[in-house]
C-alpha cells in the first residue's frame, strides 16, 4: 500500500531537525514539489485517521512531525520530569564560544568546536539563550549570533563586560597534557 515515495518522506521527516521544504523533498525524491505536497497531505490525513499521537504539519514553509496537541499534558510532564535538567557539556561549550566571541556565525562556532554545531546552536536558540544579532556584511551574509538578555539574567550578569576574564582560567593539567601531546605529535 505504502509507496516508496511516501515512505521516503516519512523517513526524512523523521530524522529532520527543522521543517523540510517540499522543494527539497522533491529534489531528494526526484519528483515534483506539487506531488510532494499531495503526498504529505495524504500522510497527514492517514495519521489523523489512525488517531496517531503525532501529526504531520506544514510550518515555516516546510513539513515536520510534531506531537499531537491533544497530548500536550504528557509531553509537558516529559519535559519537566524526563529531560536531564542540566546543559550538556557540548551545549555549555557552544554557549561559551557565543558569549565570548559574539557576534559569531554558526560556521565559526562549528570551526572552533571541531564538530558541526548547528543542532546545539538551534537548541540554545530555542531555549532563548542565543539569538540572531546581525548579518555578516561579507558575501553569503551569514547570520551572526550573540547571547540574549535572558542569558545575562540567568547567569546573574549585568552586562557582557562582567564575564570573567579568561586569563584567570589557567588550563588544568589534563588540558596542558592534551596541548603538549598535540604539539609533540606535530613536532614528530
Amino acid at each position: 500500500m505504502a509507496t516508496e515515495e511516501a515512505r521516503a518522506i516519512e523517513a526524512i521527516l523523521m530524522v529532520a531537525e527543522e521543517p523540510v521544504e517540499p522543494q527539497l523533498l522533491g529534489q531528494l525524491l526526484e519528483m515534483n514539489p506539487k506531488k510532494v505536497e499531495a503526498l504529505c497531505s495524504e500522510l497527514a490525513a492517514a495519521y489523523e485517521a489512525e488517531e496517531s499521537g503525532f501529526v504531520l504539519v506544514r510550518v515555516a514553509g516546510g513539513y515536520r512531525f510534531q506531537s499531537h496537541p491533544d497530548l500536550a499534558p504528557y509531553v509537558e510532564r516529559f519535559v519537566l520530569e524526563g529531560q536531564s535538567p542540566r546543559l550538556s557539556a557540548a551545549a555549555l561549550e557552544t554557549l561559551a564560544i557565543v558569549a565570548y566571541k559574539q557576534p559569531v556565525s554558526r560556521a565559526q562556532v562549528s570551526a572552533i568546536r571541531g564538530v558541526n554545531a548547528d543542532a546545539v546552536m538551534r537548541s540554545l536558540q530555542v531555549r532563548g539563550y542565543v539569538e540572531e544579532v546581525a548579518r555578516d556584511p561579507g558575501p553569503g551574509q551569514a547570520v551572526l549570533y550573540g547571547t540574549s538578555r535572558l542569558f545575562l539574567e540567568r547567569l546573574g550578569l549585568d552586562s557582557l563586560d562582567d564575564l570573567p576574564a579568561l586569563a584567570d582560567f589557567v588550563p588544568g593539567p589534563e588540558v596542558m597534557e592534551a596541548l603538549e601531546q598535540g604539539l609533540r605529535a606535530d613536532a614528530e
Binding site: 523517513a11 523523521m14 530524522v15 529532520a16 531537525e17 515536520r64 512531525f65 510534531q66 506531537s67 500536550a72 509531553v75 509537558e76 519535559v79 519537566l80 529531560q83 535538567p85 542540566r86 546543559l87 557539556a89 551545549a91 555549555l92 561549550e93 557552544t94 554557549l95 561559551a96 564560544i97 558569549a99 565570548y100 572552533i112 568546536r113 571541531g114 543542532a119 537548541s123 530555542v126 531555549r127 532563548g128 539563550y129 542569558f151 540567568r154 547567569l155 546573574g156 550578569l157 562582567d162 564575564l163 570573567p164 576574564a165 579568561l166 584567570d168 582560567f169 588550563p171 588540558v175 597534557e177 592534551a178 596541548l179 601531546q181 598535540g182 609533540r184 605529535a185 606535530d186 614528530e188
Partner: protein
Amino acid sequence: MPYEVSTPVFEGPFDLLLHLITSEQVDVYEISLTRIVDGYLSELERLDRFDLDVATEFLLIAATLIELKTKRLLPGRDDTDLDEELQLYAERDTLLARLLECKTFKDAAAELERLARVAGRSFPRVAGLEDRFVDVAPDLLAGVTPDDLAKALVKALTPKPVPRVDLDHVAPIRASVRDALDELVVELPRTGRTTFRALTRHHRERLEVIVRFLAVLELFKRGLVDLDQASNFGELQIAWVGPTGSDATDLSTADMYD
C-alpha cells in the same frame, strides 16, 4: 602524524603470526616453522614505516619463534636442560593463548562492524523539543556560573588530543638495535672473529641479547659478517667480512629501527 595505526600491513605481532599460520597457502599439516620465522623476518624488514614499540613486540615474538625453531632442529633432547625446555614450552603455550585471544577479538570485531553497519542504515530522530514546550522546560542554566562558562570556553579552545602512539614506556630500549648495530660495526672489524656468547657477555637482559642477535642477523643479511656454527649447541662464530675502517660502513638503511 608519526605513525598511522591502520596500515595495510599487519596491525601487530599476533596479527602477523595469525596470518602466517592460518593463511590459506599453508597446509595445516605442512606448516613449517621455518616459513613462519622467515615471514617474521621479512615483515621485520618492512617495519621501516612502523614505530619502535610495534617493532619491539615483533622482535620479541620473532625471538620466541627462533627459539622454537632452534629446538626443533635439535636431533634429540637427552642433553637438553629440562628447565630450559619446560620454559620454552611455557612460552609457546603463552604465545598460543595470546594468539587465540587475538583471533577471538578479531572475529568479535568483525561482528561489531556488521552490527554497526546495519544500525548505521537507520537514522535516529533527534529533533527535540517543539517550540511550544520550551517555556515549560526547566531553566538549563540553573546552577551554571559565569566561571563555568569561562572554563567551558578554555576547554572548547583547547585543541583536541591528536591520536599518537605513546612511546614512553619503551624509551629505555628505544635505540637498542640501532645502537647494537653501531657498536658492532666498530667492535667486529677490530676483533675480526668472535662468538655470539662473547658479544653478549655484558648483556644480562634477555631483550638486550635479542636485539644484539637481530643486529648480527642484520649484518649477516648485508654480507658484513659470516656466521658459522660448527656443531649443534656449538658456539655461534661471527667473522667480520665487511670493509675495515668502520666509518666506511654504511648503515643508513638501518634507520628502520629508529
